[in-house]
């Protein structure tokens, strides 16, 4: 990415924000009630976009209107944040979401200050949606997620200190290559990979690396670190789209982990406006499947009430309305058990790399 286009997109982003402010301005000037409309961000308002092959927001909208005190507060906050972002872009600086939250403490109007970080995060998402600009383009960064990549991949990263070429197996330590906040600053140069394997937990990632799974199977191991950050999902999507690598996801066998797969494959509900940019619809789920729990007779924990609720809620989630997921979720509700990735160690430390993964990946026609 060139500096030119950077400046261009920054100017665009700034333009969009000022336009939004101008819209509020005009509403006031016309004696109208200032209003901001947004798609409703719940699972009942996401729909499948056949063209893009991803889940996007539906037609339902919620309105932030100055008619109510809370609506007026939100709009006031939005106005303050717009000013802040416009200034940040003008000065070519960046800040983190957490910094924004703390920074609001310095806003001169008490009502403009955020009461929680959720609130400021949500407002940034609101602004992304109404202005059609991604937060990266506002120069808003999340906290480092620390997610990493390990595998036969040569990249060039545009850093603040110049370009770096890095091989994600040879030039990195045991920890792997850390994914930058904006993975679009990375250029793929070369690779020997056959597929990408996204792993939920750090423990399992380390096991795979220790056992040399990446070398053995020409695999790029992506550490998701729980619910994957946008950057991780973006990189995964690029591995699939640009390098044509099959993407697989390996998580624990519980409802929360299925959502991790869901957000890699279908996009998350909160950021459905970015699904097109973040989701990898072809990503395949390896496990742990409820069927594996039965088949490999894994050590388990009983489902808690919240697990059951989460599973039932997934049955109503349009993203999981496929035969495969319905079967797996029903089965899990039936056996009332869940299992962690590491439970495979019950069959020996090499079981996962020697037996489980090769078996599953073969089944899935990946290897």
């Amino acid at each position: 990415m060139s500096t030119d286009s950077d400046t261009q997109s920054e100017a665009d982003a700034r333009e969009q924000l000022i336009d939004l402010a101008a819209e509020f301005y005009d509403q006031f000037a016309g004696g109208e009630v200032p209003t901001m409309s947004l798609p409703t961000r719940t699972k009942s308002n996401i729909e499948y976009d056949e063209d893009m092959d991803v889940w996007v927001y539906g037609d339902r909208e919620s309105t932030r209107s100055a008619k109510t005190v809370s609506g007026a507060q939100k709009l006031l906050k939005a106005t303050y944040v717009i000013e802040f972002l416009a200034q940040q872009l003008e000065e070519d600086r960046s800040s983190t979401l957490r910094e924004l939250y703390y920074l609001s403490e310095s806003f001169d109007h008490e009502e403009a200050q955020f009461t929680s970080q959720d609130e400021s995060n949500q407002l940034i998402e609101d602004l992304e949606i109404v202005s059609d600009v991604r937060r990266e383009e506002f120069h808003m960064r999340p906290e480092e997620s620390g997610a990493t990549v390990m595998g036969p991949l040569l990249i060039r990263e545009q850093t603040r200190r110049g370009e770096r070429e890095i091989h994600c197996q040879e030039d990195v330590g045991e920890g792997g290559y850390q994914i930058p906040n904006n993975p679009d600053t990375i250029e793929f140069l070369d690779n020997d990979a056959d597929f990408a394997l996204c792993v939920e937990t750090g423990g399992m990632r380390d096991r795979l690396v220790e056992n040399g799974f990446d070398e053995q199977h020409n695999c790029i191991v992506v550490h998701l670190k729980g619910q994957p950050a946008r950057a991780t999902r973006r990189l995964t999507k690029r591995l699939h789209d640009e390098l044509g690598l099959p993407v697989t996801v390996f998580t624990d066998g519980d409802p929360w982990s299925y959502r991790i797969y869901g957000s890699v494959a279908y996009g998350s509900i909160k950021s459905a406006h970015l699904s097109e940019y973040l989701a990898t619809p072809d990503a395949q789920f390896i496990g742990i499947q409820p069927a594996d729990i039965v088949e490999y007779d894994l050590p388990t924990d009983p489902l808690s009430d919240s697990d059951v609720n989460a599973l039932e809620s997934e049955l109503e989630d349009p993203r999981f309305m496929t035969d495969y997921w319905e079967e797996q979720i029903e089965l899990q509700l039936d056996i009332e058990k869940k299992a962690e990735q590491q439970s495979l160690a019950a069959r020996g430390l090499d079981f996962v790399t020697d037996t489980y993964l090769p078996e599953r990946l073969t089944e899935m026609n990946v290897i």
């Binding site: 000022i18 402010a21 101008a22 509020f24 301005y25 509403q27 006031f28 000037a29 004696g31 109208e32 009630v33 200032p34 100055a66 008619k67 005190v69 007026a72 507060q73 709009l75 006031l76 106005t79 303050y80 717009i82 000013e83 416009a86 109007h109 009502e111 403009a112």
Partner: protein, 795 residues
């Protein structure tokens, strides 16, 4: 016509009875023993009672003469004693009137008229005089000036504790600045510890007497209560007592005092709602009680052996065969015609027959002959009593009763009648009851039957129903007056008769209008409500209840509401907890009316005053001290209704006030948020200054008044953002002449032009007027008809 009335709750009645037993002791001793009852049980209370008596007296004196009361109360500390001075602007009193006004205490023969008056409340000013005299040894000093007289008279008055008569000691002529009125000065042992009650009494008096001007001066303080209306309370009509409303004692006094000879005359003359018919009903009841009734028996049927005609015929001697036959037949026919006859009725039949036959045959049937004939007929009629009783018992008891048992009871009851040969079957209700009871007991014992309470009562009722009132003349008034039991029979007879409720126009309520005026005068509140109910009746006494509520303003937030109780315009300041008015206030769910009520019952919290006035010809009190209204269901129900009526207005006021508060809070909040947002928007966009009033008005659904100016043309626009129509009156004060304005009127005053525009704007619409004015004109717009909270003026 005189009417006398006293009730249990009245001092004179009780006091008289008490004193009766104590005639040998001195009046002072009696007073000492009954201080509590008289309201002088402590020095603190004595002062309040003395003020109360004197002020009530003063109010009555002025009102009776149609004078707006102007009353001055002063309390002075005087060494060991307190000096109480009460002045009024009444008609004044002459020396001759003094015994009447300071009438004999306790032995007084004064009855209370059945009238709504204050005097009903207390023992009277004489008690205060006596108390002062007993504690300080000083006489009451009275100054009085009658209208038109040049000087005032001065008296010193004591009450002779032996004779209980007022005595005038010093007498003088003096000058006084009041043109007419009375001043009484009492020196007494007292203290100011009951200051709260004293203040309550005076302030509450001011509330229910908005036509009075009151002034209270204390050693350290001074209060003035101004008049709120020039309207005197309506004079109350005195009404005669209602038969249902008198106690036995009162009835006896009335019997003693009346000029009537007959019961009928007495009833019709002394009571309200009693005419000839009602008097007859009462007298019949009275006869039944006094004489008992006579049993009526069926005449023997044709097939029976007994024969009235033959018996009468046989009993009559020496009157000629034809006359005798005619007489006997006439009696027999009349007896047979009557379905059942009593001894008295046969007597009546015989008399009629005797007269008729005597006329026809020119012979006399003397009383001896008639008596023989009556006895003969009576013997025949009563020859067979069992069948009659059987029919009554059979009808009165259920079908499931064994016939043998019915027969058994009938035989035994009939036998009781037979046993008593000389009574002609005349029995009181109690005697019949006794017959039935004994007969039933015997039947249970010997026949193994069961006759429970209900069955016995039914039989008794059936028999009593069959029995007839006797034609005897009831005792005259003198006889009744002489015998307490007879008087009691009359009292019961009156109670039992159905009599329409007493008239209610004898009451003088304060009226909701003046309740409001009184509250507004004494409480600086935000809201007032009042309600007056129609008259109702308890016992024989009509009553009216009224309620008023004041809320908010200067009243104290957070503490319990103040409850003010009044009876016949007199404040009740003691025994709050014992009063049924308080009970009613406590049991109402005030949360329904948007007042805070911890625990959902009890006196509500909040800056509120709740007043209740009970006006009646006889307010029932819990005790002789007359501090609390007794729990009479009829009165409690009315009190509850009237409070709820006033509280409903309070509720809608509080509801509106709360919604306005909410709206104000929202508006205040938005008024800080939106300007900040507008300012930020100006900075970010770099555009000019923003006016957000229009947006704010729209958000608040407010009515927005806007001014547009284009050179000389001025346009005033009213935009209604609410969802209901609004009517408003807009006045634009313009410094230059706007000329004629369409739809509006223009008035010039002191060089300013008042453009007045009255319009109704439908929901969501706008309306406007337009006029031309010189460029330098200034404007000032005012809008009436809309709450401030709902109005945005941007002009």
């Amino acid at each position: 016509m005189t009417s006398y009335q006293s009730t249990l709750a009245e001092e004179e009645g009780i006091a008289e009875e008490l004193a009766e037993a104590q005639r040998s002791i001195s009046i002072a001793e009696f007073f000492e023993k009954n201080r509590q009852m008289l309201g002088f049980d402590s020095g603190a209370r004595a002062l309040v009672t003395a003020v109360k008596e004197a002020v009530d007296n003063a109010l009555d004196a002025t009102e009776e003469s149609g004078i707006l009361p102007d009353i001055y109360v002063e309390i002075q500390e005087n060494d060991d004693y307190y000096r109480l001075i009460v002045e009024d602007n009444g008609p004044g009193i002459t020396k001759e009137q003094i015994p009447k006004i300071f009438g004999k205490l306790l032995y007084g023969s004064r009855f209370h008229a059945r009238e709504q008056n204050r005097g009903q409340q207390g023992i009277g000013i004489s008690a205060a005089v006596l108390y002062a005299q007993l504690t300080s040894g000083k006489p009451a000093k009275i100054t009085s000036r009658t209208k038109g007289s040049a000087d005032a008279k001065y008296f010193e008055l004591t009450i002779d504790t032996d004779s209980n008569e007022p005595e005038i000691e010093g007498e003088d002529t003096t000058s006084w600045d009041r043109p007419h009125g009375t001043r009484i000065e009492l020196e007494m042992e007292a203290n100011m510890r009951a200051r709260t009650q004293l203040h309550d009494y005076v302030k509450h008096t001011a509330v229910v007497n908005p036509h009075a001007r009151l002034e209270l001066r204390e050693p350290q303080d001074q209060f003035k209560f101004e008049r709120a209306t020039d309207q005197l309370p309506e004079e109350t009509e005195e009404i005669r007592p209602h038969p249902h409303g008198v106690e036995l004692g009162t009835l006896q006094k009335m019997l003693d005092a009346t000029d009537s000879y007959s019961v009928s005359g007495f009833l019709q003359g002394e009571f309200t709602r009693v005419g000839g018919k009602t008097a007859q009903k009462v007298i019949d009841n009275f006869r039944d009680r006094h004489f008992g009734r006579e049993m009526a028996w069926n005449a023997p049927a044709a097939h029976e052996e007994a024969d009235v005609e033959a018996a009468v015929s046989e009993a009559v001697a020496n009157k000629g065969a034809e006359a005798t036959a005619e007489f006997a037949e006439s009696v027999a026919t009349a007896v047979a015609d009557a379905s059942a006859v009593t001894h008295s009725q046969i007597q009546g039949i015989a008399e009629t027959a005797a007269e008729n036959v005597a006329d026809a045959y020119d012979t006399t049937f003397g009383s001896t002959v008639r008596q023989k004939a009556v006895e003969a007929a009576w013997e025949v009629v009563t020859d067979e009593r069992t069948a009659d009783v059987y029919a009554l018992v059979n009808e009165a008891t259920t079908d499931r009763k064994d016939d043998a048992h019915v027969q058994g009871l009938a035989e035994r009851v009939a036998a009781k009648f037979e046993d008593d040969e000389h009574s002609h079957d005349r029995l009181t209700h109690d005697q019949v009851d006794d017959y039935v009871d004994r007969a039933a007991d015997a039947t249970e014992e010997y026949d193994g039957a069961t006759f429970g309470e209900t069955a016995r009562e039914k039989v008794l009722d059936a028999v009593w129903e069959r029995m007839a009132t006797v034609p005897d003349e009831p005792p005259n008034i003198g006889a009744i007056d002489d015998d307490r039991d007879t008087a009691s029979e009359l009292h019961e007879a009156m109670r039992e008769a159905d009599i329409i409720a007493p008239p209610t126009d004898c009451l003088s309520p304060i009226s909701d209008e003046l309740v409001l005026a009184g509250l507004q005068k004494e409480f600086d509140a935000d809201f007032y409500a009042a309600s007056t109910r129609d008259a109702s009746v308890h016992g024989g006494d009509p009553f009216i209840v009224e309620a008023g509520i004041a809320y908010g303003g200067d009243m104290e937030e957070g503490s319990s509401a103040e409850v003010m109780r009044f009876a016949n315009r007199v404040p009740l300041v003691y025994q709050r907890g014992a009063c049924s008015i308080t009970d009613v206030v406590k049991r109402i769910n005030w949360r329904n009316y948007k007042l805070d009520q911890p625990g959902g019952s009890g006196i509500p919290n909040g800056p509120a005053v709740i007043m209740v006035h009970v006006a009646s010809t006889n307010v029932p009190f819990t005790s002789e001290s007359k501090d609390a209204v007794a729990n009479v269901p009829e009165i409690e129900d009315e009190v509850e209704r009237v409070i709820r009526e006033a509280a409903r207005d309070l509720k809608s006021y509080l509801k509106k006030r709360r919604s306005m508060e909410k709206r104000r809070r929202k508006q205040d909040k938005l008024a800080t948020i939106l300007p900040a947002m507008a300012e930020k928007l100006e900075e970010v966009t770099g555009e000019g200054e923003l006016h957000i009033d229009d947006s704010l008005a729209r958000i608040m659904n407010n009515v927005l008044v806007d001014r547009e100016r284009d050179g000389e043309t001025v346009r005033l626009i009213v935009e209604n953002n609410d969802d209901t129509d609004v009517s408003l009156e807009l006045t634009d004060i313009v410094s230059e002449d706007p000329g004629e304005v369409e739809d509006a009127s223009v008035v010039e005053m002191d060089g300013e032009y008042f453009v007045k525009w009255t319009t109704t704007v439908t929901a969501g619409q706008e309306a406007s007027i337009e006029y031309s004015v010189d460029g330098d004109a200034t404007f000032d717009v005012q809008v009436e008809g809309i709450e401030d909270e709902k109005l945005s003026i941007n002009a």
